[in-house]
Symmetry: D2
Subunit: 484 residues, 4 copies
Amino acid sequence: MQGFLKTPLNPDTVSLCADPTAASYTDSSDDETSPREKTQVNSKGSSDFCVKNIKQAEFGRREIEIAEQDMSALISLRKRAQGEKPLAGAKVVGCTHITAQTAVLIETLVALGAQCRWTACNIYSTQNEVAAALAEIGVAVFAWKGESEDDFWWCIDRCVNTEGWQANMILDDGGDLTHWVYKKYPSVFKKVQGIVEESVTGVHRLYQLSKAGKLCVPAMNVNDSVTKQKFDNLYCCRESILDGLKRTTDVMFGGKQVVVCGYGEVGKGCCSALKALGAIVYTHTHTEHSRCFIFHSMDGFKVVKLNEVVRHMDMVITCTGNKNVVTREQLDRMKNGCIVCNMGHSNTEIDVASLRTPELTWERVRSQVDHIIWPDGKRVILLAEGRLLNLSCSTVPSFVLSITATTQALALIELYNAPEGRYRQDVYLLPKKMDEYVASLHLPNFDAHLTELSDEQAKYMGLNKNGPFKPNYYRYQHHSTQSE
Amino acid sequence: MQGFLKTPLNPDTVSLCADPTAASYTDSSDDETSPREKTQVNSKGSSDFCVKNIKQAEFGRREIEIAEQDMSALISLRKRAQGEKPLAGAKVVGCTHITAQTAVLIETLVALGAQCRWTACNIYSTQNEVAAALAEIGVAVFAWKGESEDDFWWCIDRCVNTEGWQANMILDDGGDLTHWVYKKYPSVFKKVQGIVEESVTGVHRLYQLSKAGKLCVPAMNVNDSVTKQKFDNLYCCRESILDGLKRTTDVMFGGKQVVVCGYGEVGKGCCSALKALGAIVYTHTHTEHSRCFIFHSMDGFKVVKLNEVVRHMDMVITCTGNKNVVTREQLDRMKNGCIVCNMGHSNTEIDVASLRTPELTWERVRSQVDHIIWPDGKRVILLAEGRLLNLSCSTVPSFVLSITATTQALALIELYNAPEGRYRQDVYLLPKKMDEYVASLHLPNFDAHLTELSDEQAKYMGLNKNGPFKPNYYRYQHHSTQSE
Amino acid sequence: MQGFLKTPLNPDTVSLCADPTAASYTDSSDDETSPREKTQVNSKGSSDFCVKNIKQAEFGRREIEIAEQDMSALISLRKRAQGEKPLAGAKVVGCTHITAQTAVLIETLVALGAQCRWTACNIYSTQNEVAAALAEIGVAVFAWKGESEDDFWWCIDRCVNTEGWQANMILDDGGDLTHWVYKKYPSVFKKVQGIVEESVTGVHRLYQLSKAGKLCVPAMNVNDSVTKQKFDNLYCCRESILDGLKRTTDVMFGGKQVVVCGYGEVGKGCCSALKALGAIVYTHTHTEHSRCFIFHSMDGFKVVKLNEVVRHMDMVITCTGNKNVVTREQLDRMKNGCIVCNMGHSNTEIDVASLRTPELTWERVRSQVDHIIWPDGKRVILLAEGRLLNLSCSTVPSFVLSITATTQALALIELYNAPEGRYRQDVYLLPKKMDEYVASLHLPNFDAHLTELSDEQAKYMGLNKNGPFKPNYYRYQHHSTQSE
Amino acid sequence: MQGFLKTPLNPDTVSLCADPTAASYTDSSDDETSPREKTQVNSKGSSDFCVKNIKQAEFGRREIEIAEQDMSALISLRKRAQGEKPLAGAKVVGCTHITAQTAVLIETLVALGAQCRWTACNIYSTQNEVAAALAEIGVAVFAWKGESEDDFWWCIDRCVNTEGWQANMILDDGGDLTHWVYKKYPSVFKKVQGIVEESVTGVHRLYQLSKAGKLCVPAMNVNDSVTKQKFDNLYCCRESILDGLKRTTDVMFGGKQVVVCGYGEVGKGCCSALKALGAIVYTHTHTEHSRCFIFHSMDGFKVVKLNEVVRHMDMVITCTGNKNVVTREQLDRMKNGCIVCNMGHSNTEIDVASLRTPELTWERVRSQVDHIIWPDGKRVILLAEGRLLNLSCSTVPSFVLSITATTQALALIELYNAPEGRYRQDVYLLPKKMDEYVASLHLPNFDAHLTELSDEQAKYMGLNKNGPFKPNYYRYQHHSTQSE
């Protein structure tokens, strides 16, 4: 079990809990009794759930309704596929953050015919009132904010291990649930029809399982779908770099000198947003990416060595995927008031460990904001202790979560309905056509008016005008755009 | 006294109090005793102040030190003019928001030789720990967070009415202090050497006084200095529109359709920031500004009638300076989820009053965020009840406050040192040269390297290379740039 | 007369002649006979004109028709005021560049009732076929491409000095015509009702005349109208910097390091265009403009000393209004292939004279493009010999000329119709309301939809909804926007 | 032979000839004798070439020297590999546009040890003076501007069919040379060691040959290398859309409404450039690219149906790769003065054929600019008759050509030096590492400072610090960046 220990605290997920500004409506005056020791019943008489306080259900319901407003793609999928019930018979066990947006996903799965049991992938991130609202409508939820590690595994187990109900689909974020089923309930695991996994970590675990020949179930890696990637990286980071910096430091961007280390999609997002707001932006590239530097340059960013510029910078941002990109030596040379933060996946891009030495004083000035003070009084402002800024210090827009949740729902439908033989015991990417469908479901959000190909054009391009989609609920796609 | 009633709640100032995200380090477990009923003594034995809790002084001191980092212009002015003490003999009574940034200003005035007594221009905006820190170093501060109206005037009076000390300079923000002195202590008022006023409202009051022939003191309107204006409007709003929207709604900007009503500096800032982050931005202009529309268009914004587009918009932002720019009829036609907010000076740009009718439900979903719900379930998201978004829902960067505070300090120095006859009993704008000096004091913030004119060039341009500045502390300007 | 010598070659105007790319349809096989020695008659039997070849009239007519397409504001003014004939009785003598766009202006004046006689303000810039087309419809035109200096003054004289016709209005560009009338025909000058002057040079001359008490006629400076200025500087230069550089050097902008010296409207235009296309842009500011540097910085441009960066730059662009901004020493330090050009009004911003030394070789590689070659083989690419790039190497869009021509037409109408006493013997700026009207006439070009003020709003703003315009042809303004 | 007929007129290449603005230094007074009938000898006594006029060699040499300035990557490759002579023994027969930039490539090949015979891939595009300069230094060039079709094939044949010299490498642009060798000299073809092909058309032909099992030689498709693609599409079009529109129409971009059809790299380039200069840009997407629309929207472009907006547009630009994207019906609905042009590869995106009907009048107003006039007088401005705007109406920057030429040179080196078995009889993409090397050779153009990985970082990323390159001339890469 040791192996699991770190997971609920893994960098992908844990920092969400510490979001200083996320709206949380949890009543802090709640009694301190552990939910495991309470007996609660919902209005229909069921007690097959374990949440903080079932009485918060109404408040949670409103939160869900508000989230629905930004997740019209899921609502639209719900409406299109409702008649057909493509998930009829599906028994989905899920382990994700439990937020209002997740609730919209779960309720969509239910509307499409699935039975769901759900638990949290993170011990801090559950919105208690949302869990209550789900429990109230009959979803078997086992989750609350502030679980102990023991609670965490107890909740997972309660989802899986229940009489007269055996999961045939898994929706996971981080791989803990999958691992638990694999280890503890191998007979259940063998009969699962499909696994949908959302996180880098979880996908990595699945590939390892597959490599070791132990994956007896088709799995879908939704982390790497193109639409989702573009949103998670370019579009989301373009906004969250600004948001994260503002909420933590109130810094003015105009006129600030900033160096962004790395120029993948995340780096591009950071560079373009900061430049647009009047910052003077430099980039830092490693020689191994010669092709990259030319794109930096053509986009108007001066490529510099961090060493050359570090003492003049007002902000240093990392997103290279490499380690120790910002070293102690460079931190030593920064000017007073320099802000240092990380937008990359790795926690080690900034050598934070090197700052934990006796001659430096750490002063926590706000949540997620530390001043590291040098003997001469110089302060470097370190955000989120070098962890991902955008998860720690900004919020993820509902719209981005909508892209993710819609992708997850379609992946479940695909795996559950795929004819024998389409998927084997391996890890798959979301089929491109479904990725396109995720996008098209978000069409109404944009007031975008697409044009249908003429027969002649379709022929010229070698395309089938009606697309390759078979199930009814896909066909609506063209219908809806025609009506505009 | 009736007349004063509205002032501490005036739109320029009151909304700061409700900032949901501003860092406030006030210990909420403080006892409930009114500061007026406590006896407190600072470490030097003085009790000529009234703050929430003198024991918070140390904490406040750190806040001030952090603020100093972004206000190097004031620190630099402090260093340059310290020897000369241009405010020696000045007895300044001040009435402003009491924040860490104000403290940097006050301590600069003290370093330049002034004696200061200070009170708050707003009943909610005082940072108690900062007030304590000022009291601890001997500034006579009378202010705390959550004053009653009676407290408000009592504090002002305690600043002015003290034995053996008579103010000869006034620094005001809103005009309440000025009015109090004018009304209650006319003999003091007559002997004041100068008034420096920061707010639109206060300036308006001064002009009225001047027009009525009752202004017996030269006053300086620092609200309209060019540098300050550009920062307060264009540069500050360019960032705060994004910040305000994010902190309240977590909305994603990319792909959103937005109409910005008005295209002065504020509107330009809003338009350019939103466009840069991928929003599709329209502008709305009145026929009376024909010249304006052509600039909107040339800047790449489609000029539309609000009526034509309102039902497709994701956000509607006002900054025209006019009233009822967004009417109830237009609010009725907005789509579900449309966000409506105001960046203009007036509170009446959005006809919020028209939304207070029985058929509409108001639901407060977060601080500063109301959902107005139509009978058919449509929700319009109204921010800050139509008050200024950037004061209500975002923070003002220290750098902008540094521009303002430096301007105030220079205005005080100018009025206090001006030779007889330079200023009469009128309202003046800050001399252009001093405005330039405010800018030049901020040079070090920017790592900007300016070039000196050659003799030949200066002659060609008809300029005096050494500038027209007389006092010593101005002369440093060239010195500092020469040394680069 | 000596004094005039330089004028037709003055920097404002002469360089137009050398435009290497402007479409010129003049038949180069034309005979070499001087127009002054030919006898030509138009189809109506008149010979009161002197142009290259009246037979080119039809070709010129098509050019005019094409120009009309981009000058709908003038056409619209023509239609609105045609009934009223506000220029009935006006006898306008004009001296401007004679291009298709000017022809649209002249024909508008005629449509409004004026009689016109016209000559060229520049010896090279006349489009012969356009002059022919004007002559054909009865305008007395005296101009051809490639006049001698003697021809130049002969043409001006023929415009003014004609039996039975005495000018009562002057439209000038450069001041030569005005000066000629003033000097040679003082009695005519005294009876002129108004002068409209377009150029910096001409306006300067008028102010000198006025200062000397010799201006006996009201004159209108249309050079400094706000709309015109914004177009001539910011909007026009934003495009012409790119166009001028491309046409001369085919340089790729992406990734190039550029320093722009000066940051007025012209500099802003240059900086923003180059930045948008991926150049890395620096600015250079003199200490005398401390306030300016802060705006450069806030707009995201690093302020540098030219000396610090000059050896790394790919392009150096001047627009300061000062002299010797780029010195020989800096030219010596530039790298091989550096492009140097001037967008400012003065010809002396780049010290071109210093490059005319024996050790440097000048090689003309294209029209307007010189390679200056250092002994070690280094080449610096100098454009237009340091004269205004945008006049020399790019074209001015018809739309910008439409703004200018409409401004000129309205200025003529205003001066000709103004009630006694409105204008005295002085130099005036175009009234703001007319400047607004110029803009509003261009409304249809933009598909811009303006919104009328409600009564309540007009009152709140203290404005008269119907505007202050009296003459009929102004009233159409509101009519047209109402109908949208 | 019929099959070849169309090739020299194929859309990829022919339009270059008509470039109205490209600098051509060909002396137009040259005698009219066909070069084939002249006997010319270069200064070394050789007459193995056929060019217009060998006496223009000196002028051509200067052109080449100027081009070298922007092609430092090739010069650098020349220097690095000169000692090693990786092309020693290579007998390269080439068929490309013959311009100064090509000459830099050819002379690089020669410097690396190759013997070259060269001809033109297009009957109009040869710069005669450059051909002369090449002939003068001993390259066997057969090409002149204005060849007949018979000349075209005669020149190709003269390159291939020469005594005592047999080509072992082919460098082709369009596939004509390859086809000629394949058809006419099959025995030569079989012994060729490699073919490098640059154009879409040529690559297509090679794939067909390969599919048919008739390709007995390894071929390299350099058209699809990543660096080249990004430059040819995104970066080049971002600039050439502006340049092409300006040079042909002098249109002002600010405030214009533009719809761009298609949003691949070309479309992105067009959209971002036009938006940056103040145009109001819409995009048009087909339903088949649902995923695309979401990226359009997130980048801030409103996605519209062309039908919905066409009558308000000032410009319509196509780059979809599809046909009849702009139909006659839509052209009928455009407003007067609308500019229509194509940036896509296909000539049929605009249905130009539909405009050749009796009721419409075509008027050629400039080279590459037609006014199509409707019976009611409406004019639509069609550029380059719907062919590629950027090839027809703007120039390609030397820098882009440098990327292409360097790619070609490396491909030749790779194919010529590859160990047995690395390449078989198939069409290959340029190896990624060589693509990176192309980029790295352009490093000095950018004043970009790259950072080397530390050993620790290289290990973390699983990379070999020294790269995988074996030949000496690659090793310089790191050397050069280290020295910065």
